[in-house]
Structure formats: C-alpha cells, structure tokens
C-alpha cells in the first residue's frame, strides 16, 4: 500500500487513531511527522522526549500522545506492530465507587460521634452499593 499523503513511498504507519480526520490513514516514515505532530515536552507531566531516549521510560500515560511521532517509531521498533488487539478495560462505575468511599468516611465520622443509628443506615447503603459495583457487567 502506498502512503496516503505523498502517494510515492510505501505506507508503514497506521495513524488512523491519531490523525484529525479519523479516516483510515496510512503513511510512510517521511510523512509521519507531518501527519501527527507532538511536542518535545509532555504538557501533563513535564517529561521530555530527550529523557525518554535516555531512560527508555515514559513519564506518564499522556507522554505517549505528546511524543508523537516518536511514540509510533519506538512502538514499531520494539513491538513490530502498532495496533492493540487484546483485552480492553471494562467501563468501571467510578461514580458509584467515589460515592461509596465518601459514605465510608461519613460512617467513620458518625461512629466517632456515637451516632450509631445513622451509621447503621449508611452502612446498609454501602452494602447495597457494593453489590451494585460488584455485580456490574
């Protein structure tokens, strides 16, 4: 397959996920830098491409997108592939979990204040939330 940008060289990188259009985009190594541009420093954590080259480690999850196209070159070099084919994380119900954690704190405060009746009511709510979180598919 030929590069969808220059049409001259063989396409090496599938950048569909990173290109603005989200249309299937396959480019050659020369055009890669034109299609997806990153920055020298990660805006989230401040880690730099240079530091990655020195340590072989990214600074945070956002570095992967910040360091395009280096990320794709490195991934291809190390893995020989560019697209994940495996399992994906389930959509967790983070709101329920956050609520449970808040309730747990409240229960503790109520116990300290010796308001056992209110603490019991909230504990029952926590049990119900637990069932909901555990049972979620």
């Amino acid at each position: 397959m030929l590069c969808s940008r220059c049409g001259k060289r063989d396409a090496v990188y599938d950048v569909t996920e990173f290109a603005d259009t989200r249309l299937p985009t396959f480019v050659c190594d020369e055009c890669l830098g034109e299609v997806c541009q990153g920055s020298a420093t990660c805006p989230t954590c401040g880690w730099t491409q240079e530091e990655y080259m020195r340590t072989g480690l990214m600074g945070c999850a956002d570095c992967y997108r910040a360091f395009l196209p280096l990320t794709l070159r490195e991934t291809l070099r190390l893995q020989g592939k560019l697209i994940h084919e495996g399992a994906r994380p389930r959509r967790a119900n983070y709101k329920l979990i956050a609520r449970r954690e808040r309730l747990k704190q409240q229960v503790e405060e109520l116990l300290n204040a010796r308001d056992y009746a209110a603490a019991k009511r909230l504990s029952e709510e926590i049990v119900r939330l637990n069932r909901e979180i555990e049972g979620e598919e």
Binding site: E17, G56, L57, C60, T71, L82, G86, Y94
Partner: protein
C-alpha cells in the same frame, strides 16, 4: 511420565497496569499520590479473597528476600521501597506489586505447566481491579505502560524449564538465538550471565502488542512444546553417548545429598539437577515436583524462615545439609541396575 512434565517446572503470567491520572512510579514524588494508589489497589480487593498488604519500607529484609525467592516480588520493588508495596494472597499464587516499574504488576503462578489456568485466574483478578481503577488505556496502543516494551496487553507469560540435555550438549545458545528471532527470550535462571543454576531456564514472550492475550499464550505454548521436543532428543543423545557418566553423576549426587555436613545453595542445585536427570532417565525414582519444591525451600531466606532463628552463613550451610539428607532419604529411591 510424560516428557512435558519433566521439562516444565512452573508457569507464571503477569499483567502491567497503570492509573491514568498519576505519573509512572519512577516520577512519582507526591506522597499523597503514593498513598492513594496503594489504598485504592488494596481497597479494590477489599472483601475478596485473603490478600495481605505489605508496605515494602516496613518489611524486614529477610521476609522481602523470601518473597523474592518465591517470585512474589522483583528486586526492583525492593529498590523502590520508599513508595512500593505488595499484596499477596494466602496461597501465595497471586501477588500485586504496587509502584514497581508500573503502578500495578498483577501476577499469577502455578506449579507445572498451565498457561490457560494461570491466565484465567489472572484475568479474573484484573477484571475485579478494573471495576474500581481507571487504567491508563489507549484505543490504538492498548494498556499504557512506563516502558513501551510492555504496551498493548501488558502481558508477560513465563515458563520455567528444566533443560539439562540442551545445556549439557552445548545447544542452549543456539536455541536461545532461535527463540529471539521468533520474539521470545530464553535465559538461565539465577545463574551468572548466561549460565543457569540447576539447569533451569525461563522462556517468555517479548512482544506484548498487536496480538490478543490468547494468541500470545498460543504462541508461547507452541514454542514450549518445540523446546520440550528438542530437550527430549538431547536427553536421549546424552544417554546414548554418555550413559555411564550420567548414571555415575546421578548416583554420586544422591550420595552427597545424603552424606554431607555443609551445603551451599549453588552446590545443592547442581546436585539436584543431576538427580532430576537421573530420575528422567530411570536411574533414580522420585516425584519431580517434590524435588522442584526443594529448589525454593533450600534458598537462604526460605531456610531462615523455617528455622525461625538468625543464622550465620556456616549454620545455614549446615542446616541445608541436614535438610537435604532427610529430604533425599524421604523422596529419592535408587533403582536396581
């Protein structure tokens, strides 16, 4: 006795996972973030199973070493003890390292050879964790890890193999290179450089991206079966060319295990390998999996935990010799020629 069972000693699979919202552990400076990560992971398992949380900065060195000898933690976890922790279940077949190279390293291991069994347990654990943790994940690159060598599935499957035939006949380097070309690593365990202690080697996948977990396990299985077949051939060759020598070594090893006063771990492992080869070739009789248990039980920190007393190097070697004597008498039988 099936050949595969005499080669594959144990199976281990790990998954690398990270929190989306915190920098990777090597850049984790915020004490509060460290606390939140450790708290969230252990809360996620809260009412399930019987995991115990160990903060590495509070674990005595002997215990940390025992965890390492049992492959529950890595040396890197100890190096980061100021921010690291581990959750271990009571059967000690599951562990979750926290703030090693990645925020989470979930790990499942079992005796013998059972890739799919290990993965099934681990996938269940990962599923439970993912209910309360937002893992760093990218639609194209999969699970995001501190090092891109673990991207995608974040999965490394390892099988410990007993390869005296390949090692004795000098074929391990060639097989290792072949494995490397196929995207796998085969290296000696616990040995100096390329040497391996007790003729044990570890095979694991290198590529973690672009294949599903099951495809990776399928390929690891293919490669393991291939190595097992090669090992079987080399054991036969060894017995044909050096039968009397192999027999002599097995019997001598059996003799020394039953009759010595001081025994270092390295020597013990060499003797154990000779005995195990003797068993596979029908010179001695023993349950190989019980012998493999000794390979862990005889290590320094495991011995110390058994004795429950501080020991000098010399006392340790003496304890090991006594333990070896009783174990050899109980577990190994000499066959009539």
């Amino acid at each position: 006795m099936e050949l595969l069972q005499t080669v594959a000693v144990s199976t281990r699979i790990r998954l690398a996972r990270n929190f989306a919202e915190y920098p990777f552990p090597h850049r984790l400076k915020d004490k509060e973030a460290v606390e939140t990560i450790i708290h969230t992971v252990s809360e996620a398992l809260n009412r399930a199973d019987d995991f115990k949380l160990y903060r590495m900065d509070a674990v005595p060195m002997d215990e940390a070493e025992r965890f390492m000898e049992n492959y529950l933690i890595s040396p890197a976890l100890i190096e980061r003890r100021d921010i690291s922790a581990v959750l271990i279940n009571s059967d000690e077949n599951l562990s979750i390292m926290i703030n090693e190279e990645d925020h989470l390293r979930e790990q499942c291991s079992c005796k013998g050879y059972d890739l799919s069994g290990c993965y099934e347990i681990l996938a269940g654990l990962d599923d439970r964790l993912s209910k309360s943790i937002a893992f760093a994940y990218d639609e194209q690159l999969g699970y995001l890890t501190a090092c891109p060598t673990n991207l995608g599935t974040g999965m490394r499957a390892s099988v410990m193999l007993f390869l005296p035939g390949l090692i004795e006949n000098g074929l391990l380097p060639a097989v290792g290179e072949q494995m490397e070309r196929l995207g796998f690593t085969l290296r000696g365990v616990n040995g100096e450089g390329s040497a391996s202690l007790g003729a044990l080697c570890q095979l694991s996948n290198e590529v973690t991206l672009g294949m599903s977990e099951n495809e990776i396990l399928h390929e690891v299985n293919n490669v393991v079966l291939k190595i097992v077949q090669l090992e079987g051939e080399e054991r036969r060759n060894l017995f044909l060319t050096d039968g009397p020598q192999v027999r002599d070594r097995a019997l001598r090893a059996y003799g020394v295990l039953r009759n010595c006063a001081l025994l270092e771990y390295e020597e013990f492992m060499t003797l154990l390998a000779d005995v195990k080869l003797g068993v596979t070739l029908g010179i001695l009789e023993a349950d190989l999996s019980q012998l493999d248990d000794l390979a862990v039980a005889m290590r320094n920190a495991n011995l110390k935990a058994r004795i429950k007393m501080p020991l000098t190097e010399l006392e340790l070697a003496s304890c090991r010799a006594k333990y070896a004597e009783s174990a050899a008498e109980k577990l190994i039988v000499r066959k009539e020629a």
